[in-house]
Amino acid sequence: MADARIDVPATAKPGEIIEIRTLVRHPMETGFRRTQLGALVPRDIITRLVCTYNGIEVFRAELHPAIAANPFIAFSTIAVESGTIAFTWTGDNGYSVTASAAITVG
Amino acid sequence: MIQLNINGKSEQVDVEPNTPLLWVIREQLGLTGTKYGCGVAQCGSCTVHLDGAAVRSCAVPVSAVTGKKITTIEGLAAGNVLHKVQKAWLDHEVPQCGYCQAGMIMAVASLLRDKPKPTDADIDATITNICRCGTFNQVREAIHAAAKA
């Protein structure tokens, strides 16, 4: 599995509300777990997902340790024009992953 | 087709000859009082009688029992009257979860057939069924009570 999977319709009608689903592979280490030797496993989570549509932010999520491993986030946006819907996940320890999808609106 | 005599009835079953008697009893004949506990003749939950003798049916291929009288827990009572072991089990409230008790009762009924007044040593030597709930003291009391009945 690649780090990120996104599910964006390839085509949509203008003004159509489209559903976007995202999944990114990440342990979302809470900072509350213990190792085999009883030591605390340091927190290591994705803290943010930003979605832009032709460069304009249309959705943003701030995430905390209570988001389950391999964060799945679904939301919607209105198909306004053809172009690119892009996603950026950022988090602890310099984590950053991007993905994008082309959409044809017409 | 294999011909079986079970609880006084004649039955025909269409199974592989090496199928354990336990699974023929449970799955072909629908008599689920006889239990699966281990499959290797260790626990005794599957005990039935072959011509009155206790056997662990999980380790007996069905082909080996043709011509023998099979009795399961469902066939132990005489019509409407409980077998004296069942009666003693009721009086002494032996079962906890009860899963092993059909096998236990069958083993004890066979013991009492062979030794109507078993000593504790006879019980210890003969009754080797596993009961994880641990009802052994009630089992022993009930065996002695059944022997007196």
Binding site: T35, Q36, L37 | T32, E74, N80, L90, C97, G98, Y99
Partner: protein
């Protein structure tokens, strides 16, 4: 109940099968929505706990699970006591978790573990009975047009005192069910109890004697197929591949399915066909890193924890380390306790039927709500499209309480065969390989004495596996697992019974990959061995009698001391034992009950142990049914002593080595000691029954073994030392 009727009356056959039949009918046919006030057969529900049929039969609803421990009967006694019904007319039924969700959890918690079945629900189930009685009386009074205060109920009969008129519960139940339940009801004073506290006969015995009792492994649904499963034997491993074509043509085989990432199942007409095919199925596992782990490597990790600088503190007063450093005399010992499997007689199993808009599960569970939760998760359907039916359990002991892996599997299999009910039944070998094991620990104890042989300090260092860290890490208390200190805690349900001037009890957490679970008694099993055997070691070092040594430390723990004194007195401690017989003691507070045992054993040939007698005392606060408490004590000893003498789960190449009862044995009747129970409820609190006494058998026997042989055994099971139980 007529359960002492030896004859197979008509009732025997009809009620026996009806109990199962109606349960299934409820499951299959009858929607049971919110607000309904009728039972499945149309009889009026007076309160959620009580249904009364026109023939005066009282159906008491039981949310907790009966698995042999007698809670079904005990809870029914609670309701019946306040209801004032005729006990001989009582029967029971399980409400379903789906009904519970729809009715906003009207029956409370379904969880049956931690010896909490009765002690956590006694109050509200009694109120359910009392409310029903009030409503029945009011219904009769309204019919007679008399004040309810002039009426009373006893034995299912309502009497108008001034006129002497009577009616029965069955005649007024319909009217009572329409009355608004009272907001508050008074409960009886325990001294007025007539049914609670009496050794009434169990409600569930007869069918277990005739083969009629349907356990979940016996369930049969129309069109049902049978399945059995193999999960990767290395915990954490996955399925790499399997060759379904190799078995697809075998007789009866319907489908080979992968179940999640980790398991493969065969579905066939019969279970035996499924098992035969699964045995023949080539499966390649991706075993992962854990395949390198062995019991020896785990033991090394735990051993390092015994002296590790960092540990979580569970109980502390004074300065134990300073007391030990300045001691005139030090005593030190290291103990170890292995992994254990529950080995319920009925292997794990569940039956599921899935369609796109409904998922139903029949399963043996200690917590119907938990089974329902995994049904929702595995099916992906909402709560109003799922239902779980609890079918009688062939043992639980903790395996079927917290973890419903077997239910998840059954739903995942059924999802791959929509519309067809599939019964998944594990082999015993699978049950041994896929447990939720009693966790592994080691323990180092150091005691300090002053020049006058007074115990001045004690350090108990536990090193080993935390259940909480594995299953609910977010609930750790800044890393500390409070359950690790059961029996040695500073206060509460598991309060340490000794006053030591300088005390430190701490835990170096070490978490191997083997999945831990809640095994009857949980951590009191090993903690009792550690502390109670070491108390004997300390007494010996001080040259004092083990009972007297303990008594001196128990001044502030009178209830702990009372049960210890009771067993000592009854066993004749201090008086000569029969020739060749030796005694050992132990005490503990567990699950809010105070328990103690005195074991009498003899040893022949240096290693053949006969346990002749165990005198056991318990103070559970209130004793609901002494006959059942006695059976739980005896049964808990079988569970605990089987482990002590014969059981361990060892790890090789990341997997459990034991496969069946041939290499994971369990006590037989020949090994069973006489058990003398002293049930001494002191009132004012509610303690558990099913688990507490398990922990005192093993240390009492070990202390007696030392008395007999002069040898301290500190690692288990005893078979590893060539010691057998005869």
């Amino acid at each position: 109940m007529n359960s002492d009727n030896p004859n197979l009356s008509r009732r025997f056959f009809i009620i026996g099968s009806a109990a199962v039949g109606s349960g299934l009918a409820l499951g299959l046919n009858i929607p049971f929505g919110p607000g309904i006030v009728r039972a499945a057969d149309g009889s009026p529900e007076v309160t959620a706990w009580v249904v009364i049929r026109p023939d005066d039969t009282v159906v008491i609803r039981i949310a907790r699970s009966e698995m042999g421990q007698g809670t079904l009967t005990g809870l029914a006694q609670m309701v019946a006591e306040e209801l004032e019904c005729d006990w001989s007319k009582v029967t029971t039924e399980y409400p379903t978790p789906g009904q519970s969700v729809a009715r906003k959890r009207v029956w409370g918690n379904f969880s049956t573990g931690g010896s909490r079945g009765i002690r956590d629900s006694h109050d509200y189930v009694r109120r359910g009975g009392a409310a029903a009685r009030t409503m029945l009386i009011q219904a009769a009074a309204e019919a007679w047009r008399v004040p309810a205060a002039e009426c009373s109920a006893a034995n299912s009969v309502i009497t108008h005192q001034p006129s002497g008129r009577t009616t029965t519960f069955g005649k007024v139940a319909e009217a009572a069910s329409r009355i608004t339940p009272p907001k508050d009801v008074a409960l009886k004073d325990p001294k007025d109890w007539k049914i609670i506290g009496k050794p009434v006969r169990r409600l569930d015995t007869l069918d277990k004697l005739t083969g009629k009792q349907v356990y979940c492994a016996d369930l049969k649904l129309p069109g049902m197929l049978n399945a059995t499963i193999k999960e990767c034997p290395v915990f954490g491993g996955k399925v790499k591949s399997f060759d379904a074509a190799k078995v697809a043509g075998m007789k009866g085989v319907k489908k080979v399915v992968q179940v999640g990432d980790t398991a493969v199942a065969v579905v066939a007409d019969t279970w035996w066909q499924a098992k035969t095919a699964l045995d023949a199925l080539p499966i390649v596992w991706d075993e992962g890193e854990n395949a390198k782990v062995s019991s020896a490597s785990i033991a090394e990790i735990l051993k390092a924890g015994l002296d590790a600088p960092q540990a979580f503190i569970g109980n502390q007063n004074g300065d134990a380390k300073a007391a030990i450093a300045g001691a005139a005399k030090k005593v030190e010992a290291v103990y170890a306790y292995p992994y254990l499997n529950h080995a319920t007689m009925e292997p794990m199993n569940a039956t599921a039927r899935y369609t796109a808009d409904r998922c139903e599960v029949w399963c043996p569970t200690q917590n119907g709500e938990a089974a329902f939760a995994v049904t929702l998760a595995a099916s992906g359907l909402p709560a109003d499209k799922c239902e779980v039916y609890k079918i009688h359990l062939g043992g639980g002991f903790g395996r079927r309480g917290a973890f419903h892996d077997y239910v998840t599997q059954a739903v995942r299999i059924a999802k791959q065969m929509p519309g067809i009910p599939v019964k998944l039944l594990w082999t015993r070998e699978e049950d041994m390989a896929q447990g939720r094991y009693h966790p592994v620990t080691q323990c180092k104890l150091v005691g300090a004495f002053d020049a006058g042989n007074n115990l001045t300090g004690l350090h108990m260092r536990i090193s080993g596996q935390s259940i909480l860290a594995a299953v609910r890490p977010q609930a750790l208390q800044n890393g500390r697992d409070p359950a690790q200190f059961q029996g040695v805690a500073p206060s509460g349900e598991f309060e340490f019974g000794y006053g030591v001037p300088n005390l430190l009890i701490d835990h170096a957490m070490r978490n191997p990959h083997v999945p831990p679970g809640f095994w009857r008694g949980v951590n009191i099993n090993q903690n009792a061995i550690y502390i109670e055997c070491f108390m004997d070691e300390l007494a010996q070092a001080a040259g004092q009698d083990p009972l007297e040594f303990r008594r001196k430390l128990m001044g502030k723990h009178p209830k702990h001391l009372a049960v210890l004194n009771a067993v000592a007195e009854k066993a004749g401690w201090g008086k000569p034992a029969p020739q060749g017989v030796f005694r050992g003691l132990a005490q503990m507070k567990a699950f809010n009950s105070f328990v103690a045992a005195c074991a009498e054993i003899s040893v022949s040939g240096g290693n053949k142990v006969t346990v002749h007698r165990i005198v056991c005392a318990t103070d559970p606060g209130y004793a609901v049914n002494r006959a059942q408490i006695e059976r739980q004590i005896g049964g808990s000893f079988v569970y605990g002593l089987s482990a002590l003498f014969e059981q361990e789960c060892t790890v090789k190449n990341g997997r459990i080595e034991q496969q069946n009862f041939n290499d994971y044995s369990s006590m037989r009747i020949a090994q069973m000691p006489k058990v003398e129970a002293i049930i001494m409820p002191s009132g004012g609190f509610w303690g558990g029954v099913g688990e507490p006494t398990i922990c005192v058998a093993a240390p009492a026997v070990l202390n007696a073994y030392f008395a007999a042989t002069g040898k301290r055994i500190r690692s288990f099971p005893l078979k590893n030392h060539g010691i057998t139980m005869v």
